[in-house]
């Protein structure tokens, strides 16, 4: 019942949101996907673009926030099992997922890129991936992109392993988020990688189960306000040097 006094937005009612823990927004994230969700300095605080966006949203809703860190394999299983309220982990919106889940308005809009070793000119477009080998994490939508382009895809744990394979010459390319690539190049200035192709931008959003309509509505309002107030742009500046929210 939403009859609680509207002293703050939070009072809009945990009951109505059907939160896992009343008064707290329980957020699932990997914690191992920089710069979106990772630990400061490796073993410090959980930080990252997605983390701070989620924190800002919870703040707007007047809710406490609790992060549950898990692996990508388990993240949807946990959401389905009612262990989390929301996933904040660069989940990109696609029609298949939309069948099963609700999405907030996107907070990240960026293209996917094809990354190859510097000087490799055999690949210059997505079409060129046909017959080549790429390394992707199995669960990402980059995996699907590579498959669709006709590549042989090797599944790896994450970006770090994909880059290792690429640099060791065991795969020809990897497809990933442009932001991930930019961050890597920033952190590893002597990396000898190059981007040779880019897709249309895709959108990532907070992800909910189908029954969380009230929560999604409130989150969308919060995101709109944050966008309005320039908070999303600020966070983009902080992590990527640019606003990535649209």
């Amino acid at each position: 019942s939403s009859s609680a006094p509207a002293a703050s937005d939070s009072a809009a009612g945990d009951d109505e949101f059907g939160l896992v823990n009343a008064g707290t927004l329980t957020v699932a994230t990997e914690g191992t996907y920089p710069p979106f969700t990772y630990h400061e300095g490796g073993a410090g605080e959980l930080v990252g673009y997605d983390v701070e966006v989620a924190e800002a949203v919870a703040d707007k809703l007047g809710l406490e926030i609790a992060f549950e860190e898990t692996q990508w394999d388990a993240i949807f299983a946990g959401l389905d099992a009612g262990r989390f309220d929301v996933i904040a982990n660069q989940v990109s919106i696609n029609p298949d997922r939309e069948e099963d889940y609700l999405f907030s308005t996107p907070y990240t809009v960026s293209p996917s890129v094809v990354v190859v070793n510097e000087g490799d000119d055999s690949i210059s477009s997505f079409e060129d991936l046909k017959g080549k080998t790429t390394a992707q994490s199995l669960t990402s939508n980059f995996y699907q992109l590579a498959v669709d382009a006709g590549a042989n895809v090797e599944a790896v744990e994450g970006w770090a392993q994909a880059v290792a394979l690429l640099e060791q010459g065991r795969v020809d390319a990897t497809v990933n988020d442009k932001l991930t690539y930019l961050d890597y190049v920033k952190q590893t200035p002597d990396a000898k990688l190059a981007v040779v192709a880019e897709t249309d931008p895709s959108e990532s959003a907070l992800t909910f189960t189908k029954d969380k309509t009230a929560l999604v509505k409130a989150v969308d309002e919060a995101l709109a306000e944050l966008r309005e107030e320039g908070v999303l742009a600020e966070l983009g500046e902080k992590y990527f040097g640019e606003d990535v929210s649209q």
Binding site: E30, G31, T32, Y33, P34, Y38, H39, E40, G41, G42, A43, E68, E69, T70, Q71, D73, A74, A77, G78, D80, A81, G82, R83, E157, G158, W159, A160, Q161, V163, A164, Y184, Q187, T188
Partner: protein
């Protein structure tokens, strides 16, 4: 950040992850698992075919399916039948069940390795089977089972790394976080491996102490 700096900076967080996550998780699961294993071993030895059949089935399932799946079922599967268990308890339950299956066979073999004459000597001084078991058989079985049980324990210590899948922060999870941030996954994983090794060396020397103590009553 140089590699060397990374190794230095990661050492304490990793060790702490081990001491606050890996070790307590392993200890608690091992203690509970042993109790369970004793019960299962006795069931398995039982002449009652139903009782021993249940024990057989349990052991077979536990040993025949990947631990990873066992963890998943307890943590992600149980909620679908209305039972939601927190990460730590889930992990302890799953690992205890796992230890229970493996250690049951060890304990069973150890009990069977005590000469039949010891049971009979117990009966002949008027002991019940229960008293004979606890006073005579188990103390002798303990000696035989220390080496294989310590193997089970060492495996458990390493297997706890799977707990990161169900939201428990232990050493391997810390390693993954550091690796993700630094992208030097190989280096960090090796460092973690060395700390696991350290733990195992400490455990092995503990095992030697226990063995020595239990060996005081046999010829050397």
């Amino acid at each position: 950040m140089t590699d060397w700096q990374l190794v230095l900076d990661s050492f304490w967080p990793l060790l702490w992850g081990g001491l606050s996550g890996t070790i307590p998780l392993a200890l608690a699961s091992f203690a509970l698992g042993l109790l369970l294993a004793l019960g299962v071993a006795l069931m398995r030895i039982s002449r009652n075919r139903v009782v021993s059949g249940i024990a057989r089935f349990y052991i077979s399932v536990i040993r025949g399916t990947p631990l990873l799946v066992q963890l998943f079922v307890i943590f992600y599967g149980m909620p679908s039948i209305g039972i939601t268990i927190d990460p730590w308890p889930s992990a302890i339950i799953a690992f205890s069940l796992n230890v229970g299956g493996y250690a049951a066979e060890v304990i069973r073999a150890a009990i069977l390795s005590v000469p039949k004459g010891q049971w009979e000597a117990g009966y002949t001084i008027g002991m019940s089977p229960g008293t004979t078991l606890t006073r005579l058989i188990l103390p002798q079985a303990a000696r035989v089972s220390v080496p294989p049980l310590s193997n089970t324990f060492i495996s458990l210590v390493k297997d706890t790394s799977l707990a990161s899948l169900i939201l428990v922060t232990e050493m391997f999870r810390v390693a993954q976080e550091i690796a993700a941030f630094s992208r030097e996954f190989l280096l960090v994983y090796i460092e973690a491996a060395l700390i696991y090794w350290l733990f195992c060396l400490v455990l092995s020397s503990g095992q030697n102490l226990i063995e020595k103590r239990l060996d005081r009553y046999v010829a050397h």
